[in-house]
Every structure is written in structure tokens, then in C-alpha cells.
């Protein structure tokens, strides 16, 4: 607790509390997934939930991601608010068909929506190899009917998850595993934190260059911005998208029209990554304001490698962002 009566909360606790508080407040919220009940989850997000909410609302399932998502869809049809945990977000792949063809299209086809949340740990940097490190957002970017969230701060992790649980449409919620314990913030305990989907956040304001990013890259981008402020005296605006779909392009465009320069940073590989859609929309809406090409700093176009030097090379690093930013500022 700090003087303002706020509690120090990790990113992981924020996620845990959002689920817990929603389950306490609303009987219809429940969670299902692999090893989440008795074991408390691979990252212990749901530890103790079984004891508090019982086996009806904290459900251990077989290893069957398609069936997990399917059950969530059916329960959502019946007015429940399911939270489906993917032990690692990489394992969303076997549920791809269920998500893209059933969950995403249901409301449009039949008028019956599927208000559910699919959440799990994403992202690289933990030396976990190609199958426990992926950023999967782009796999779903072209699928109408889905919403996608990728919080960076504990506050947003909590507020956006609450909003996602209450949302009438299917939401994919990406938790960056590197932030689980590293991100700590003092969060109010009395007020109910709620962050609406579809609104970006200016993490750091500036007038010389706009960096648009999300997830763990928000912090690397901010570090790069601070370094450039110190060393070059230029002020970079860092925008944390928070929600990937619906995309808050208005905030991005407003910023780019001020700075005239845009750098997009994401952890996913370059080709076919989210930077493409952002670039296309900014081109459409801020072309005349651009004083330099839109650039992107991303992972390289390979799977996520395992050995530390390889993974470090694979990932965008602060230095890469600084170099790219300087190139743009000098343009």
C-alpha cells in the first residue's frame, strides 16, 4: 500500500484480480482450461480459484483447445461469460478453426453472438523456444468478428480484461509472459478499474516522431525515446495501442499529423505483421502530413529461436529502435 491507499500490483496479479472480481460480481462468469483448477494454472494465475468458486466455474479440461473454445462459444450463446485459458497462446493454433469459423462468424450469420474471452501468455524473450514464444495476433488480423487486446501496463491489463469479459463479442486477450512479474504498479483498490476496448494511450508525449507499438515493446520503445531525448534532445511520442482491433487509428493519425513521422514497433515478425495495417490506414488518412517514410522495427522473419543470442537477435532491441528513430528524425 502507498500513501494514496493504492496496492502494489504486478501485471499477473492485475489479470488475476480482474477475473476474480468479475467472477465475484457476476455469477455468469466462469473459466475453463488446462490445469487451471487443481493446479492453479501454468503461471498460477488462477491459484485458489477452485477453492473460492468451485468446480462448476473453474473447470479443468482435457488437452483439447478446440473443445475448450467450442464450449466457451456454446456457453456464451446461453448467456454465460466464459474465459478460456490457453496454457500458452501458441496453443491457440489447434483452436484456429473454432475461433475463425465459429466464434467470429456466429453473430453475423445467425444474430447470436459469442461473448467470450480467450486469454493466454504470449511473446518471446523467456528462452522458451519456437512453441512457447509466439505473437499470434496477425494470424487473426484479417478475421472480422474478433477483437484483440494486448496490454502493457498492469492498470490496462486489469481494466481491459474486465472490459473484454463484459464485451458481447469474442475477444482474444494476449498477456505478455515477460511482463507477468516484471511490471509492477500501484493500483487503486477501491475504484473499479475499467478500460474501454478500442482506445489507444499516449505512453509518452512528444512532437518530433511518433512511435506506435503495443505489449512488451511499449517499454523498449519508451527506453529508446528517453535515450534519444537525453542524447539528441528530440521528443518522441510513444503510443500504446492497447487494443489491436478495433484499432484506434484516430489517436495515431492525430499524433502523426503533429509529428510528421511514424515508426511502428512490434515483436511479431516483419512480413505480414500488424505494422502493415497501421501503415495502410495512416497512408490513407495522414499521407499529406508525412515528412518521412513510415518505418517499422520488428522481429526477423523466422520462427522464434531458442538459444539466448539467437533470441536476442531475433527480437527488436532498444538499439534497433534508436537507430530507426534517428534515421527518421534525420530524414
Amino acid at each position: 500500500m502507498d500513501e494514496a491507499g493504492r496496492k502494489e500490483t504486478t501485471y499477473l496479479q492485475a489479470i488475476r484480480e480482474a477475473i476474480q472480481e468479475e467472477m465475484r460480481a457476476d455469477e455468469s462468469v466462469f473459466i475453463l482450461g488446462e490445469d487451471i483448477a487443481v493446479y492453479g494454472g501454468a503461471f498460477k494465475v488462477t491459484e485458489g480459484f477452485l477453492e473460492e468458486f468451485g468446480p462448476e466455474r473453474v473447470i479443468d479440461t482435457p488437452i483439447s483447445e478446440a473443445a475448450i473454445v467450442g464450449a466457451a462459444i456454446g456457453a456464451a450463446h446461453m448467456g454465460l461469460k466464459p474465459i478460456a485459458e490457453m496454457q500458452f497462446i501458441d496453443f491457440i493454433a489447434p483452436a484456429f478453426d473454432m475461433i475463425v469459423n465459429f466464434a467470429a462468424k456466429s453473430r453475423y450469420r445467425t444474430g447470436i453472438g459469442a461473448g467470450l474471452v480467450i486469454r493466454g501468455p504470449c511473446g518471446a524473450g523467456a528462452r522458451s523456444g519456437p512453441f512457447h514464444s509466439q505473437s499470434v495476433e496477425s494470424y487473426f488480423a484479417n478475421v472480422a468478428g474478433l477483437k484483440m487486446v494486448a496490454p502493457a501496463r498492469a492498470y490496462d491489463a486489469k481494466g481491459l480484461l474486465r472490459a473484454a469479459i463484459r464485451d458481447p463479442d469474442p475477444v482474444l486477450y494476449f498477456e505478455h509472459k515477460l511482463l507477468y512479474r516484471r511490471v509492477k504498479e500501484y493500483l487503486p483498490v477501491d475504484e473499479q478499474i475499467l478500460v474501454p476496448l478500442g482506445r489507444a494511450r499516449t505512453h509518452r508525449s512528444g512532437s518530433d516522431l511518433t512511435i506506435v507499438t503495443y505489449g512488451a515493446m511499449v517499454f523498449k520503445s519508451a527506453d529508446a525515446a528517453n535515450r534519444i531525448a537525453e542524447e539528441d534532445g528530440c521528443e518522441i511520442e510513444v503510443i500504446d495501442l492497447r487494443t489491436l482491433r478495433p484499432l484506434d487509428i484516430a489517436t495515431v493519425v492525430e499524433s502523426v499529423r503533429r509529428t510528421g513521422r511514424l515508426l511502428i514497433v512490434h515483436e511479431a515478425p516483419r512480413f505480414g505483421g500488424f505494422a502493415g495495417e497501421i501503415t495502410a490506414q495512416v497512408c490513407e488518412e495522414a499521407f499529406e502530413w508525412l515528412d518521412a517514410p513510415i518505418r517499422r522495427v520488428t522481429a526477423i522473419d523466422t520462427p522464434v529461436p531458442y538459444a539466448p543470442p539467437l533470441e536476442d537477435y531475433y527480437l527488436p532491441q532498444e538499439d534497433d529502435i534508436v537507430t530507426a528513430a534517428r534515421w527518421l528524425l534525420a530524414y
Binding site: 462448476e56 478446440a66 456454446g74 446461453m78 448467456g79 473454432m98 450469420r109 445467425t110
Partner: protein
């Protein structure tokens, strides 16, 4: 049940005519020869139970109270259809009638039905779910995961495995080494019961028992219905690779004629009363066809509506032909659809 059986066949015959006249948009999938399984199972449920039909189970839809009119509307892609022209065949979900529609990827529907059953269980409601599955679909990963979860969570579900000898253009024997399809239940630790799928009473009895078992909280039962797909996979499929003797053999076991003989023989119906029913069905279908043919396609602009509960904020594109359709337009979709569901109940 006889009425339902002849209604099923009647609707399909009308659809075939409409197909040949070019009114049907897209493909037409028949259940000729399998009507008894769909009807017998549909009949075994309570009003507040849920049923999830595969594409061939028209009889089950009618048993749930779907009006033939709404079936025609789907195949004719009318704006008045339950899917408002956005999806085809029986891909509609109608909560008021306890109906969960399939989507094309096979096996997925069962996974979703588990969630419906889960909601019954969690709310302590003694309601049951029943679904159908072809032996071909039983080979999909989704089907397996769905069955495995239903068994693991002991959900109130009945799965009717329809062994109709064919999967699209391939014999089930060349798609699976399984001989007795009841053995499939072994992978899930649940009981299975085999029935003659062309005998509506046998199907009905088995379904009633399986439903009762599920309602009692004893979990999933797999009912294996032995039957035969008398027509091709879809209307365009010539079936040229199917030996005529084989078809003749199964034609002799036609579920509707068989049931008709039985009803008359044992005096439940007379030749005339049976004809009465058929006439009644014909009249109803004449009216339905006439009515639906007068109904228009949806307007193109309606394509924009309904992917999300609220329309996506979208980039203003200067030349766009597409006026933004607002929240109101979107809401209009819901209720109007709901109302029609009411009528058709």
C-alpha cells in the same frame, strides 16, 4: 411422427423442384432414406432441450418446430430467412426453439453444444442436448475433442452417430477400419447403443432412453444409427459410383413406407387417414412455396450489418460507396429475426 416423416420428404421434394427451376441458391443436401433417424431423435426431446442437427437432419428441425417456410427461405436466400440471407442451409441457431445450427467444418458443432450442456449443468437445470454426426465427421479432430470433453465433464449429451455408408464420394469402409461403430465409445468411456436407423420407433426408443440417462445426470450416450444415404452428397452428385443393387436393397427398407405399412397393418392409421395427412402436408407446402417465392432477397447494403454487436469504427475512405450503417440498423437485425423465430415456433 408419420406426419413429420412425410413433411420432411415433402419439403425436400419441393426443394428439389425449386432447385431444378433454379430458385435454390447454392447446393441442396438431402436426407432421403435417413428421415427416420432425424425424426425419431427430434421427437425424443423435451421443448426446453437443445438439438444440434447436421446438414441432413431436416426432420429433426421440423420436430423442433421450425416451419417449412423458414427452411425454404434459407435455401432461397431470402432476406426473411432466419440467417437474413447471410448463411445457407440449416446454419441457423434459434434459442427459442433450442436449436444450435452447424457450420460447415465438421465436428465443431459438438464442441459448441458442450457449452450449451455446460450451462445446463452449471445452472442445475435438468435439460439435455442431442446432436447428430456422420461416421465421416467422426474422424475429425474437433469431433474427438468434443466427445472427449463431454465425457470428461459428464455432460448431459446424446450423440447420434449416423452410419449411412457414405462420406461425400467415399465409402466409410475406405475411410475407417472400424467395423462396429459402437466401439467408438470406448475411446471416451461412455456407453453406446446400436439401432436400425430406418426404423423410426427403434430410433425413438433408443433416443428416449439415452435422453433419460443424460437427464438423470449419468452423462453421454452414443447412439449408432445404421442407415443409408440414398442420394448423392448433394444435388449435383450423380452417384454413378454407387451400385444399383445396393440402392435397391436399401430402397426396400425405406423408413417412411416401412412405417406407413406398420401403421396401417396394426390399425393405427388407415389408407385414407394416411392420404389425408399427405394431402394436408401438400397443402401446407404449396402455401409455403408460394409465399416464399414472393419474398425478396436482402438488400446488398445489409451485408455491412452484424459482424459485431456495435459496428467497427472504420476508416473514412473518400470514394467509398458505403454509407455507414449505424447501431440502430444493426439492432433492427436482432429483434426482427427474433420475431420471425417466434412465428415459426
Amino acid at each position: 411422427m408419420y406426419r413429420l416423416l412425410s413433411l420432411t420428404r415433402g419439403v425436400e421434394e419441393r426443394l428439389e423442384t425449386l432447385f431444378k427451376q433454379g430458385h435454390v441458391v447454392g447446393g441442396l443436401y438431402r436426407s432421403l432414406g435417413q428421415e427416420a433417424t432425424a425424426v425419431g431423435c427430434g421427437y425424443a426431446l423435451r421443448g426446453d432441450d437443445w438439438l444440434a442437427p447436421s446438414i441432413r437432419d431436416l426432420g429433426a428441425l421440423l420436430a423442433r418446430g421450425i416451419h417449412p417456410r423458414d427452411v425454404l427461405r434459407q435455401y432461397l436466400a431470402r432476406g426473411t430467412s432466419l440467417c437474413e440471407g447471410k448463411d445457407n442451409t440449416n446454419h441457423f441457431t434459434v434459442p427459442s426453439l433450442g436449436l444450435l445450427g452447424p457450420i460447415s467444418p465438421l465436428g465443431t458443432q459438438l464442441c459448441v453444444l458442450n457449452g450449451v450442456a455446460l450451462s445446463f449443468r452449471n445452472r442445475g437445470e435438468r435439460r439435455v442436448c442431442l446432436t447428430f454426426q456422420g461416421e465421416g465427421a467422426s474422424r475429425t479432430g474437433a469431433s474427438h475433442e468434443g466427445l472427449a470433453m463431454a465425457a470428461a465433464l459428464n455432460l448431459p449429451i446424446v450423440v447420434v452417430l449416423q452410419h449411412n455408408r457414405w462420406s461425400f464420394g467415399t465409402r466409410s469402409t475406405s475411410q475407417a477400419a472400424v467395423e462396429d461403430w459402437s466401439d467408438v465409445a470406448g475411446a471416451y468411456g461412455v456407453p453406446a447403443v446400436g439401432v436400425d436407423g430406418n426404423d423410426v420407433l427403434q430410433v425413438y426408443d433408443a433416443a428416449v432412453q439415452a435422453v433419460a440417462r443424460a437427464r438423470a445426470g449419468d452423462g453421454m450416450t452414443i447412439v449408432v444409427a445404421e442407415t443409408y444415404r440414398m442420394l448423392g452428397h448433394a444435388q449435383h452428385d450423380s452417384q454413378k459410383h454407387v451400385p444399383t443393387e445396393e440402392l435397391a436393397e436399401w430402397e426396400a427398407r425405406d423408413p417412411i413406407q416401412g412405417f406407413e405399412r406398420y401403421l396401417i397393418e396394426f390399425g393405427f392409421e388407415s389408407q385414407s387417414s394416411v392420404e389425408e395427412i399427405r394431402a394436408e402436408v401438400d397443402a401446407l407446402l404449396d402455401a409455403a412455396v408460394d409465399e416464399v417465392l414472393t419474398e425478396p432477397y436482402p438488400q446488398g447494403i445489409e451485408a455491412r450489418v452484424g459482424a459485431y454487436a456495435e459496428p467497427e469504427p472504420e476508416a473514412e475512405v473518400p470514394w467509398t460507396r458505403r454509407p455507414i450503417v449505424g447501431y440502430a440498423g444493426n439492432m433492427a437485425a436482432g429483434p426482427s429475426r427474433a420475431t420471425r423465430v417466434g412465428e415459426s415456433g
